[in-house]
Amino acid sequence: MKNNKLASRIWKSRISYLMLLPFLFFFFLLLLLPILVSIVLSFTSFDFFNMPVFVGVDNFITLFVEDGEFITALQNTFLFALITGPISYLLCFFIAWLINDLNHVMRSVITFVFYAPSISGSLYTIWSILLSSDRYGMINSFLISLGIIKEPLLFLNDPDMILGCLIVIQLWMSLGTGFLSFIAGFQMVNRDLFEVGAIDGIQNRWQQLWYITLPQMKPMLLFGAITQIVTAFSVGDVSLNLCGFPSVNNAGLTLTLHAYDYANLRFEMGYGCAITFILFAIMYIMHRIIGSLINRIGR
């Protein structure tokens, strides 16, 4: 009886499934399946040449007990993400908000200027030239000519400066997906409600933002938060391309790079998958925390 009911509900929803089908086909095949494979492999020892051997939670125990580099990577990733994540989220939001009332031309120009760093996947590699550690490096020569420093700084080679440089560069390129989605989100706000709010006693722009604009933008705020969590915690390429691998003293080592090291360079796929799983678990927890914070907006 119950089965029949479900079957008839499924049959009734056939148009829904039909419309979902194209996306689901690619999603299951090229995203969900690889994720499941990777989760299963994280409980194995797998070197690409022999069949995977099931080792239980050994990989995870090794990570926390024996692998000093993993702890370094974990610390760097957290430090990096907890600084860049919130700052760039707020930047995305406030710049999108500030330019929302400007005229068309100004809006277009400012949007372009701030989005420009994200437009090419590789533009950030120019920073390695700008931050070059000899006198020909643009930034070093500028600071020397101002008399602020006498000797060129070793920006990307000095373990004390690596993480700082990476944070600044990440912030520079962080007005990407989230920024565009906020700009689009502001376009969806129903401005009629501003008048209603004015009658109801909204005093200033901040109240207007908190009680009228933000509640309408909750879905976009959540989207922006998730993209921000992903970019902040899965940082790796920037460090790889600017500081090299391994970076001096592992000062630029992150979880993504640690996974890359094991899976791609040392052929220990199982261990690499375990690192990726930990990274996922961290991002999942952050997502739950931030999701519940966003739910409280406007109350």
Partner: protein
């Protein structure tokens, strides 16, 4: 009685300060782009001048001409690489947007068995990143016999949860009453999706178009495409820049050529978002 003004205006001071801050940050944002443009116009000897300059003293187009010469002497003409990349980028973007709008509409506005679970899986999948996934994905693509075809480049984009999640978040703000009345008028689901929902979330799908085109255009595809005539423009340019001419100027010229199409797409489409502003806001 006169209603209060529609917008509560900022003070002139506030505007001035925020504009100044924006300009200061803007200069910082544009620095690498300006440097790339300058480098592409610098003759070789100017790379060794101290102190280094943010502009070319004797600007020249030689770097671009050098790139052009090398491509002109190659076995595969430049137009072939451009075609391959354009084909993959445009097909992939159109499919991603169409499939995305359909899927996101269903996931946010329809009720069907499995909906809640699917929505949750999509968010969780969005959080699972890493090049680890490239290995199983490569095996699956090769099993499907898609290696060395455009499919191998654009299919992973169609699997992207970012597009569908962004679209879904926007579609939830479309009022149900509007869809209901369309249904009563006898509109089919596909019509509701593309003629009612899509226009109402235009800023969202335009954003998805910009982001998808850009990621496909920058895709180098070297791990899934091996035949020279099927290679993509980024792969060809990086081959030439790294082996053909080892000069910073040519590298900058190559980077600049690669950036121009995404900039054009961005400017053209972003304008569409801003122009919808007049009738912005979803109204019941």
């Amino acid at each position: 009685m006169k209603l209060k003004t529609k917008q509560l205006n900022r003070s002139l001071w506030g505007n001035g300060i925020s504009l100044f801050m924006l300009m200061l940050m803007g200069a910082f944002m544009l620095l690498p782009l300006v440097y790339t443009v300058a480098s592409s116009l610098k003759p070789t000897e100017e790379f060794y001048v101290f102190p280094p300059k943010l502009y070319a003293v004797n600007p020249t187009f030689n770097n671009f001409l050098d790139l052009w010469d090398i491509f002109a002497n190659m076995r595969v003409p430049l137009s072939r690489y451009i075609y391959n990349t354009l084909f993959a980028s445009i097909t992939g973007t159109v499919l991603a947007v169409v499939f995305g709008i359909m899927g996101a509409y269903v996931l946010s506005k329809h009720d069907f068995p499995g909906k809640a679970a699917l929505n949750r899986i999509i968010v969780v999948a969005l959080l699972y990143t890493g090049n680890i996934l490239a290995v199983p994905r490569y095996l699956i693509i090769s099993r499907l016999n898609w290696l060395d075809t455009s499919m191998a480049v654009l299919a992973p984009t169609l699997a992207s949860t970012m597009c569908i999640f962004l679209l879904r978040q926007f579609i939830t703000t479309v009022p149900n009453a509007m869809l209901e009345s369309a249904r009563i008028d006898g509109a089919g689901e596909f019509r509701i999706c593309f003629q009612m929902v899509a226009p109402n979330v235009k800023p969202a799908w335009i954003t998805v178009t910009i982001l998808t085109f850009q990621s496909l255009w920058n895709n180098n595809g070297s791990s899934v495409i091996f035949t020279e005539t099927k290679k993509l423009l980024p792969a060809a340019i990086s081959q030439v820049v790294s082996s053909g001419i080892s000069r910073a100027g040519a590298g900058a010229a190559g980077t600049l050529i690669m950036i121009i199409p995404p900039i054009l797409v961005f400017v053209i489409f972003q304008r569409q978002i801003i122009e919808t502003m007049a009738n912005s806001g979803v109204k019941e």
